[in-house]
Amino acid sequence: MSNMIQTESLRFAYPADEGQKPVYALRGVDLEIEKGSFVVILGHNGSGKSTLAKTFNAVLLPAGGKVYVEGMDTLDQDLLLAIRQRVGMVFQNPDNQIVANVVEEDVAFAPENLGVPTEEIRRRVDGALKAVGMDEFVTHAPHLLSGGQKQRIAIAGVIAMEPACVVLDEATAMLDPIGRREVLATIHRLNQEKGITVILITHHMNEAENADRVVVMNDGRVDLDGTPEEVFSQVARLRHLGLTVPDTVDLLDRLRQKGWDVPLDALRAEDCAAAVAGALEKK
C-alpha cells in the first residue's frame, strides 16, 4: 500500500492583521491518502477543508508539520514543479481557471509550461479531452460552454499534465444538477479507468455516496474518517458539525428510533428501500 499524499501533524494559519494572533485553519492533521482511492472531504464553511486541499500541491505550505506527495516534501522548493505535476487542482469557479480562448489551447497550457514536445502535447490534449468526453469541442471558445462543460475542460487541462492525483476544491459548488452529474461521472471514470487518485472537496453529502472513503473536517482537524457507510451512520455527530445527512439515512435513523431493526448504512435509495422492506417483512 503506497501513499499518494501523507500529512503529519499539519498546521496552517492565514496571515493575521497586525497585533492580532494568527488563527489556525489547520491544527494538526494526520492523514494518509492511498494511491488510486476516491476520497471525499466534507465539512462546513471554515472547517479547514479547502485550506487542507491547497496544501496538497504546495499552493499553501505548512506552518508546522509536513505534507508529502509520493514521498516528496512540499517544503522543498526544488520539488515544486514535480509536486504540482503529480497533483492537479480544479477550483470552484470554472471561469477563473480557464486561460485561453480556445479549448485545445487551454488544455495545452500545462504541458506547454512543462516543456513537453509539440507532438506529445497534441497527443495529451486529444487524450485528455477524450477522457472527459469533450473531444467534440477541441476548437470551441470556452466561454460559450455550460458550467459543467467548462469544469470538464478544467479537468482535462489538469489531466494533460498526466498527474497521479486530482484534487477538486468545491469544483461542483457552482454547477446545476446536470453539470454536477457530468463532473462526478467524469472523475469516477478517471478514477476507475486510469487509476487516478481523486480527492473531492464538497459540501454536497450525496456526492460522497460512491466514494471509497469520507473524511469530515471540523475546526481544522479530522473529525470523522471512514467508509461512507461508517461516516453517515454518525447521524448525531454530523448534525452537530453543521452538516446534513442524506435523506435515506435520515429516514432510517427515524425508523430506528421507533424501534425498527434497520441498518443505518443504506445510502442509496434502492438499498434504503430494500432495508425498509426487509424490516417490514420480518415482522
Binding site: N57, V59, R84, V99, N101, V102, L114, T118
Partner: protein, 268 residues
Amino acid sequence: MLKDITLGQYFPGNTAAHKLDPRTKILLVVLYITALFTAKSFLAYGLMALVLAVCVRVSKVGLRALVKGLKPVLFIIVFTGVLNLFFTPGEGILWAWGPLHITSSGLRNAAFMVLRIMLLIMGTFLLTYTTSPISLTDGLERLLNGLKRFHVPVHELTMIMSIALRFIPTLIEETDKIMSAQKARGADFESGNLMEKAKALVPILVPLFISAFRRADELATAMECRCYHGGEGRTKLHVLKYGRRDYTALALGVLVLAGVIAMRAFGR
C-alpha cells in the same frame, strides 16, 4: 447592449485566412494600414475595398459580424465625416451657412476619411476574428522576439495581453449582470446630468473591480497549479511555421501596397 461589443472576439474556422501564420497576418495588417494611409484617390480606395472584400470572402466571416463591429465606433465615424464635410477649406463652395460650408474637396475628404476609418476597423477586426488571441499574441511574441535582447519582457507582455483578451467576454457578461442587479434595486443609469450619471456608475464599477481582482487572484493560483513559471522552457501546441501560403500572401500584400504607392505617385 454590451454584448454588441465584438472586440477581441474570435470566430473559429478552418479557412485559408484562419490557417495563415499569425505573423503573416499581423504583417499583412501593417501593410494594409500603410496602404490605407497612402491611398489618396477613389481608385486606390476602391482597390483597398476590393482587397478587404476578397479577404472577407476567403475568411468566411459574415459581413454582418464585421459591420456589427463598426457599431461602437459609429459616433467617431460620423463625427469625423461631419467635421471634414463642413470644415474643409477650398474652392468650389457648394453650400454655405455662416461658418459652415461644404466644398467639393470637403465632400471628397469626408468620403475618404469615412472610408479610411471603416476599412481600417474592418480590416483589423478581420485579424482578430480569424486569429485566436493565443496565436495572435504568439505571433506578436515571435515578431518582437528581438526586443528580448534589450530586456523587454516580451513573453510577460504578450501573456498579459492574451489573458486580457480572454477575459473581455467574461467581464462584459459580468457587467451586464451587475447592471441588471442594480437596476432591480431601482438604480437609474439613464436620467440625470453628466455628474449624476457618473455617480450612478459607482454601484457598477465597485463590484466590477472587486470581482476582477478576485478573478485575477484565482486565475494566478490556477496558473501556478498548472506549473506556470514564466516563459522559460515553454513549448507550444502550435509551432509557428511559415509555409508557401504565407509567402504568397505576403507577396500579394506587398504588391497591393506597391500598387497604391504607384497610384499616388502618378496622381491617380
